[in-house]
Amino acid sequence: MTEPNGAPDFANWTCPLPLKDYPTIVMGHGGGGKLGSELVEHLFLPAFRNPELENLGDAAVFDLKPGFGPSRIAMSTDSFVVQPLFFPGGSIGELAVNGTVNDLAVSGAEPKFLSVSFILEEGFPLAQLAAIVDAMAHAARIAQVRIVTGDTKVVERGHGDGCYISTAGIGVLRPGVLVGPDRARPGDVVLVSGTLGDHGMAIMSVREGLEFESPIRSDCASLHGLIADALAAGGHAVHAMRDPTRGGLASTLNEIAAASRAGVAIDETALPVRPEVHAACELLGLDPVYVANEGKAVFFVAPEAADRVLAVLRAHPLGADAARIGHVTAEHPGMLVARTAMGANRVIAMQIGEQLPRIC
């Protein structure tokens, strides 16, 4: 994508038009919606194209040395720029570990090793950094991963937001597991491991100064154990898994519908949402299906194994509120359709950029 002289070569983009609508980066490019996907599709993918990347899973899966032993490797990376750095239910530290652990886990891998990079702003209190590092160490112990390498950079005051963290992780694919966003099949049952929108609304509530009788807590957690249990119970019947982070359940289900070229139909009344999260969403004019989660997974499971997997999820401490929320259909391929409480149907589209609070 870059010419030898360093100037970006816009002419050689495979499809430059959709990007040229926004000649500069806007916040929506990082919002987990359509703008971000276009950046991947029209800029990163053409530039880096290779079979491992093209799958566009949460982690890339590959053989380190084909023919060398049975184990396949999964690799993933994620950056964390959340504000505030500390919030009810966690901090940027837990997020940085669990986010990468979960991306590996939903790819069917057992997370093993993490790297961590800190970008710190001049003047950032050391006590806060210590609290973040402590939270990371704790989260890594729970997730049974080792943080084996790292890097620290400091930028001048005003050039960062206190602390940014980037982690990358490597895991070993569980033997016999075959999951991918393109493997959902008509008839599959869609399960979610718990309540939706907790993390996003915990952050929004702090930012907007909303106070509730019981504060909304982030659901930030590592899902490797829950997913191991689900895979043990479901085996090959588990076709796809994903953790619905930025862009929420709606983006995740739309992505899987698109990758699998199948339709996803969900029942709005079956979606588990905490009353306080629901209330906060109503106040701010947001839809919980678009709000971020940091400790939830969505499973696409063949119908004969769905009850078994759901029972296992509910038996796990992180899956007590797990629910069956819909199914995959051969109709409306690539689309997510919800049946409303009124008995009508509506399409839930991928969001464009960030979810915008309404005026009134």
Binding site: P18, D21, Y22, P23, T24, I25, V26, M27, G28, K34, E208, G263, A265, T269, P275, H278, A279, E282, L284, G285, T329, E331, H332, M335, V337, R339, T340, A341, M342, G343, A344, N345, R346, V347, A349, I352, G353, L356, P357, R358, I359, C360
Partner: protein
């Protein structure tokens, strides 16, 4: 949630829809003025539940959609200036101006902040005395009291670095304009509950009388909407044209007196341009003489604003209820939420975006096949 979940009961909604079916004998066209109501109707699929002959026409009540292009361009020009903190409700950031939107200005370095209340913008002004803080005060009577309060507070606190870019619009003159337009087909109105919670509904009886139309003050939840529609149909069927309040848990005849007093102090009635519709006489508010110092249009001398609407966009026809969004030739083609040509495609309250986001570009067959029991009439009514 109390006062919310009980108004979203699917079984009661089905029963109310059957009641409407039982009383209706002729085709009727009812306009919901408010964009919030349009959003709720489409999101919940209320229109899919109604009998074929009751048609909901979506009115011009989306504040984002009717804010004139010239004002959007002024907002972009102000927000791009150094030393300015430009505060706005979230929806306004993606509304296309002639050359850009506020998101792009932000991307180019403009200090643009999304706030939930104009009073937050006043606080920002207090904390940043070296900056000019401007709040984009748009909307109907619903958002006006908070905007009025912000300049009232700023004046009391002596914050000379705060100003309001105002484009307030009013519902009753819009109803008058729609009813007076040649070719009008609207036979009844659902008045916007939130507007009436501020203003009351004392302004409506003369309109009901003049145009012999039922006007029903209506809320936003599915059962509120169905009740409003049921009452409007009952009136139409029996030849009555009264003002009714179907949102009694929120709205009183006189409205909020304290808010109205503040509005009278801060604002004067003025002619306003409505995007896509044109100038409607005495249809909006501007800051009164006592608050003129807080008018961003006065404070920032802006020249060279040249506005140009997309020739493909039929937002005006949509806002007047003359066409449904899917009947616009650009709908879902040149114009999508990803690349909106007109404001009605931007806000979730805009009729075009509501239609697009909730799948009204799908064929009814596709939707019906998803297993959700659409009736044949909806199959015939929705467009591919």
């Amino acid at each position: 949630m109390k006062y919310l979940t009980e108004f979203r009961n699917g079984a009661i909604a089905q029963r109310m829809a059957r009641e409407i079916q039982a009383i209706v004998t002729r085709p009727w066209k009812i306009m919901e003025v408010c964009g919030g109501q349009t959003h709720s109707i489409i999101k919940n699929g209320i229109d899919q539940m109604l009998p074929a002959c009751v048609e909901m026409v979506h009115g011009p009540g989306c504040p984002v959609c009717v804010t004139p292009l010239e004002l959007i361009d002024k907002a972009l020009a102000i927000a791009a200036q150094p030393g300015v903190i430009f505060c706005s409700f979230g929806d306004m950031l993606r509304v296309p101006g002639t050359e850009a939107d506020l998101f792009q200005i932000k991307g180019r370095g403009g200090d643009i902040r999304v706030v939930y209340s104009p009073l937050d913008a006043v606080e920002i002004a207090a904390k940043n005395p070296e900056k000019q803080v401007v709040f984009f005060g748009v909307g109907f009577e619903t958002t006006a009291p908070a905007n009025a309060m912000s300049v009232h507070v700023a004046k009391r606190r002596g914050l000379s670095n705060y100003s309001l870019l105002v484009s307030h619009v009013l519902v009753p003159p819009a109803i008058e304009a729609i009813m007076s337009a040649p070719g009008n087909q609207v036979q009844a109105f659902l008045a916007a509950g939130h507007v009436c919670s501020v203003m009351g509904y004392w302004e409506y009886p003369p309109l009901a009388e003049k145009f012999r139309i039922p006007i029903v003050v209506t809320g936003f939840e599915p059962l509120d909407l169905l009740d409003g529609i049921r009452r409007a149909v009952l009136q139409l069927e029996s030849g009555r044209h009264e003002v009714e309040n179907a949102y009694e848990r929120v709205v009183r005849y006189d409205g909020n007196q304290a808010a109205q007093a503040l509005l009278r102090e801060v604002f004067d009635v003025t002619d306003r341009t409505w995007r896509g519709i044109g100038v409607i006489p005495r249809s909006g508010w501007r800051l009164s003489a006592a608050y003129r110092d807080f008018d961003a249009e006065e404070r920032f001398q802006l020249s060279g604003i040249h506005t140009e609407e997309s020739p493909l966009c039929h937002a005006g026809d949509v806002l007047r209820g003359a066409i449904k969004p899917a009947e616009c030739p650009a709908f879902g083609k040149e114009c999508t939420p990803r690349h909106p040509l007109g404001a009605t495609m931007v806000s979730s309250e805009g009729a075009c975006a509501a239609y697009y986001n909730y799948g009204r570009f799908l064929s009814a067959e596709q939707l019906a096949a998803s297993g959700a029991g659409l009736t044949t009439r909806q199959a015939a009514g929705s467009r591919a």
